[in-house]
């Protein structure tokens, strides 16, 4: 059988022709599998529980650091392929006046991201489309090529979760290379790509028939019908609700910086006329100066316009440009917002008939 998995095909028509393989991995073997990954010299990024009680992605040295009991990490894993600061190149002026430019991606390590949620891995579909569809971005390309995603289905959810409302589900295989679903004492393993397969160690995995994941997945009730929203949002721009919905927004970047699909960046130079770097830094459409022109003119004069931009981009513009709803319902922005703004509440209100 073939499945449409965009992210793993970095060139061509975005069709993944890899025939999905189904395996069983006993819970007992999980640490071995994990440590093998580490031993293979790969950098393994996994959720780690911090002293502040929150879970963050972090490169780990052994399986026991890894957190297994969490709903969602504070930040997404996008920084692995789209770092918060990407050094595009550095320059140095030589004695003779010539300028030397260095730009080396060769040392980007092979990385495995362990324990993403299905919403996160599906977010990589969008990232890939965004960075590679036209004028492919070599920095992203390199990093993505060297990254393998091992997702774990959600057995729990909180009231910020709404993946089911954006066409995903707690057991979705969108975008991942391997999806693990805990089923009692073993993990039902769906190998989605060559990359994934390359990690499968025959000694640890046994083949299996297709199983239903349903009963092992978190129940997340549908907040809204994505099709209705997609349709209603067409003329939501004029909605009078925007002002009220965004009143609480403080224009901090927290939502964008934690979002798995936010890709806005800003090119900055650091250094002197003698030497320095050109950097690509995360930016956020919520920032007051995001749209400010050199002249001082700013087409988006207030937070209402900025908040609208953010939401319309997720549910309208990205659909128009890339055919993807670029919100995966991970609920990070809801959990992190200092003003407790709620994206699906907003969407509901601005699209209500």
């Amino acid at each position: 059988m073939t499945k449409k998995v965009l992210s793993n095909n970095l060139s061509g028509n975005g069709i993944n022709t890899f025939p999905m393989e189904l395996k069983i991995l006993t819970s007992a073997n999980i640490p071995t599998f994990f440590n093998n990954l580490l031993q293979s010299g790969k950098v393994v990024v996994a959720p780690v529980l911090k002293k502040n009680g929150k879970v963050y992605f972090e490169s780990v040295e052994s399986y026991d650091q890894v957190s297994t009991d969490y709903i969602q990490t504070v930040f997404s894993a996008k920084s692995v392929v789209f770092p918060k600061v990407e050094e595009l190149f550095s320059y140095t002026k030589k004695e003779d006046g010539s300028v030397e430019i260095t730009n080396d991606m060769s040392n980007v390590p092979e990385t495995v991201i362990w324990g993403l949620r299905p919403c996160d891995s599906s977010a990589f579909n969008y990232l890939t489309e965004f960075f590679l569809k036209e004028n492919p971005d070599s920095y992203y390309k390199t990093r993505k090529e060297r990254t393998t995603l091992i997702s774990v289905s959600c057995a729990k959810a909180d009231d910020a979760c709404f993946c089911t409302s954006v066409g995903l589900n707690p057991g979705s295989t969108e975008g991942c290379d391997i999806l693990l679903t805990a089923m009692g004492d073993f993990f039902y393993t769906e190998v989605m790509t060559e990359k994934g397969k390359a990690l499968i160690d025959a000694k640890l995995f046994t083949d299996t028939e297709e199983k239903s994941k349903e009963e092992f997945l978190a129940k997340i009730n549908i907040k809204f019908s994505i099709d209705e929203v997609k349709e209603r949002i067409q003329n939501a721009y004029e909605s009078s609700e925007w002002k009220h919905e965004s009143m609480g927004c403080l224009s901090c970047g927290a939502c964008a910086f934690s979002c798995p699909t936010c890709t806005c960046f800003d090119i900055q130079d650091e250094g002197t006329t003698e030497n320095g770097k050109r950097l690509r830094c995360w930016d956020a459409c919520g920032f007051g100066q995001f749209t400010q022109h050199a002249s001082g003119h700013n087409p988006k004069t207030n937070q209402t316009a900025r908040r609208r931009q953010r939401l319309l981009h997720k549910f309208k513009y990205s659909v128009e440009n890339l055919g993807i709803v670029s919100c995966v319902g991970c609920g990070r922005c809801i959990r992190i917002c200092p003003a407790h703004l709620n994206i699906f509440e907003n969407i509901l209100n601005v699209t209500k008939a």
């Binding site: 140095t92 002026k93 006046g97 002197t272 003698e274 030497n275 001082g296 004069t301």
Partner: protein
């Protein structure tokens, strides 16, 4: 693209002896933006400067760095040269290679390295330099003189005679000040009023002088050349235009028992009054606090008797706005009230009086027509004791400073008494006799030797009354500290000179500083004795410290000459090193957030609140700070203080200072 020229001076051997100047020049040439670098024996010499000028033209330089002595030495020189070369003088910076390198270090790699660093630093700075132009501030050629005493009069006349307008403000109903109260003046014993009154009249009649008596300064704002002053004209209740000064009003006024300030309380005046016969203007005012019409609502005699109907009870205080270019403060002094000497019985015994009261007794225009009589019984005293330093030079009880004039006027008093009563006895208790000044000591000697005034070196411990006599107990420290006791008929205390009670509030109105005794502070105790540290405000007379008449007058003339200097050109030019609050195109207008916390920081009150208005609707779009270039002295405290860098200091911009630091440390790596 910057084209910087670097000129390294050997200063003869002074720099080249310890710094490898050729190397410095070579290294400088390598710096980005440097189009030309050279070293030369004497940069400040004519050929040196010519080289700079030529180089600027030949290499189309956009800025120059001169590596030589301290900028405090030759910055001006080289900026002129830069100007001659055809670039803005402020595009010239100096690297201090002599005072701060060659003279303080031995010849070594490190020394040369330091020189190179400094040059690199200045090259970076000059790259960030922008053209600056001296600030021109128009000067309003009218002077305000506050105080109509002899100092104020002198200053006003000098300025007016130089052809400038003068506005004089005097709080009393007449000008003249303390000098008009004096009987005779030391050391010549000529009559005070005889020499003063002509000057008073001259002021009143001078075409260039506008006189406001019975008036006070309300507020002073603005800056040198452009002060805005509000003056309160207190209601005189008499129409000065109609009044002829005939005097029928005060002859008829029923309130006759008001202590007369002019006679230091030794006589009485009426409620409607002129302070003294020769007053200028010689027209009465109503002292409302003591007038039955204003207190009880009845009387109105003066109104009835006035032949010209000049009395106007409805008159109200009037505030006028005036614009002046300079201010001379001549608010004068006061004398310390002696109540704090209970043991001297001042106030308790009628015949213990102070110097000013004695002046009135001795004055021909005084309450006794110049006959020295006891206030108590009008008898002519046979024995008078004069107590010098009553309060002065007495840290414990009075004030620590010397009141300067007492030694002289005490001698004068004793002398005048002796002249009027040849067989009377005059005793002077003194600590030291301070009589420095032209003919001053001779004067005191005369008192002792010719008029045989008894000088006793010692303090008076106590004065009490005993059957009609005043018993003065003291010691004679020269007569092996013998206690002595004198039965006197009258005691005169040479009480200390102090600042006016309202001196502090005046200083605050003018934004000038003052010392702990509330005497106004000069800008520099030696080199700028008549200016205050607020540009455009000068000091004259005893408001600065105790002074005798010649000192007050000469300081007044000095202050006047400072004012004339200021008025000698239509605009004054100031260094363009001033702070600027950024302004930009709408919609931002400025990055200033209008927190205005910087206003407090500025020592010169140069930062103002500005409302940026919509040109059409006039509504306020933004509130921001603005620096008044006229007031700003360029310290830059506000610049470092401003949180979001909305203020910058021309000549020391954030960009420049930061580039200097980076250039200094962050070598090409």
């Amino acid at each position: 693209m910057a084209r910087i020229g670097v000129f390294i001076c050997h200063c003869g051997e002074n720099i080249s002896a310890t710094v490898d100047v050729e190397k410095v020049a070579q290294e400088a040439a390598k710096l980005s933006g440097v189009a030309f670098a050279i070293d030369y024996k004497y940069m400040c010499s004519d050929p040196g400067q010519t080289q700079i000028i030529e180089a600027i033209k030949e290499h189309k330089l956009t800025g120059i760095v001169v590596g030589a002595c301290s900028p405090r030495m030759h910055e001006a020189t080289f900026r002129k040269a830069a100007e001659k070369g055809g670039i803005n003088p402020y595009l010239c910076e100096m690297a201090n290679l002599r005072e701060q390198v060659s003279w303080v270090h031995a010849r070594s790699e490190a020394t040369t390295a330091k020189a190179i660093d400094i040059v690199r630093m200045m090259v970076q700075k000059v790259k960030q330099d922008s053209k600056l132009f001296p600030i021109k501030v128009p000067v309003i050629k009218t002077a305000l003189v506050i105080g109509g005493g002899i100092a104020g009069i002198q200053a006003a006349l000098d300025i007016a005679n130089a052809g400038h307008k003068v506005i004089m403000v005097e709080k009393a109903p007449s000008i003249g000040g303390h000098m008009s109260q004096l009987s005779e003046t030391f050391p010549t014993l000529d009559c005070s009023q005889c020499i003063l009154t002509p000057r008073m009249v001259e002021v009143a009649q001078h075409p260039n002088i506008t006189l406001h008596t019975f008036a006070e300064v309300e507020s002073v704002s603005g800056y040198v050349g452009n002060f805005d002053v509000q003056v309160r004209l207190k209601a005189k209740s008499v129409d000065m235009k109609l009044c002829t000064g005939c005097g029928s009003c005060w002859q008829k006024c029923p309130n006759k028992k008001i202590p007369d300030e002019f006679n230091a309380g030794l006589s009485f005046r009426t409620a409607i009054y002129t302070p003294f016969p020769q007053a200028v203007p010689n027209k009465p005012v109503i002292d409302r606090a003591n007038c039955s019409w204003f207190q009880k609502g009845k009387c109105g005699v003066c109104k009835k008797v006035c032949p010209v109907g000049a009395i106007n009870y409805e008159m109200e205080d009037e505030i006028i706005d005036i614009k002046v270019g300079a201010i001379v403060t001549a608010t004068g002094f006061d004398i310390k009230h002696t109540d704090f000497f209970p043991e001297y019985g001042y106030g308790e015994f009628k015949d213990v009086i102070d110097g000013l009261q004695f002046e009135r007794l001795a004055s021909a225009s005084g309450p006794t027509n110049g006959e020295i009589r006891r206030p108590s019984d009008g008898k002519i005293p046979e024995k008078i004791v004069f107590v010098a330093c009553a309060g002065s030079r007495d840290k414990a009880k009075g004030i620590e400073y010397c009141s300067k004039i007492c030694c002289m006027y005490t001698a004068k008093h004793a002398m005048m008494y002796k002249h009027k009563n040849h067989d009377g006895e005059a005793y002077v208790f003194y600590m030291d006799v301070r009589s420095a000044g032209k003919n001053y000591d001779e004067f005191v000697r005369r008192a002792v030797e010719e008029d045989d005034v008894q000088y006793i070196r010692g303090r008076v411990s106590r004065i009490y009354e005993k059957n009609g006599k005043l018993i003065v107990k003291g010691v004679d420290t020269l007569m092996n500290a013998e206690p002595i006791e004198i039965e006197a008929d009258m005691v005169v205390l040479a009480t200390a000179v102090v600042a006016n009670q309202d001196a502090e509030s005046v200083a605050q109105k003018m934004h000038i500083s003052y010392d702990k005794h509330h005497f106004f502070a000069e800008a520099h105790p030696k080199l700028r004795p008549v200016e205050t540290n607020t540009a455009g405000i000068m000091l004259a007379g005893a408001c600065q410290t105790a002074k005798d008449i010649p000192d007050a007058v000469s300081q007044a003339s000095a202050a006047a000459s400072k004012v004339m200097g200021l008025f000698s050109s239509d605009e004054m030019t100031r260094e363009p090193v001033v702070a600027v609050v950024n302004r930009m195109m709408p919609p931002q207008f400025t990055t200033c957030t209008g927190c205005l916390l910087c206003m407090e920081v500025c020592p010169y009150h140069a930062i103002e609140r500005e409302e940026i208005l919509d040109r059409r609707t006039g509504e306020i779009l933004k509130v921001a700070a603005r620096v008044n270039a006229g007031l700003c002295q360029g310290c830059g405290t506000c610049v470092a203080f401003c949180r979001n860098k909305s203020i910058d200091l021309q000549g020391y911009t954030n960009q420049q200072m930061l580039s200097e630091v980076i250039a200094l440390l962050n070598k090409p790596f």
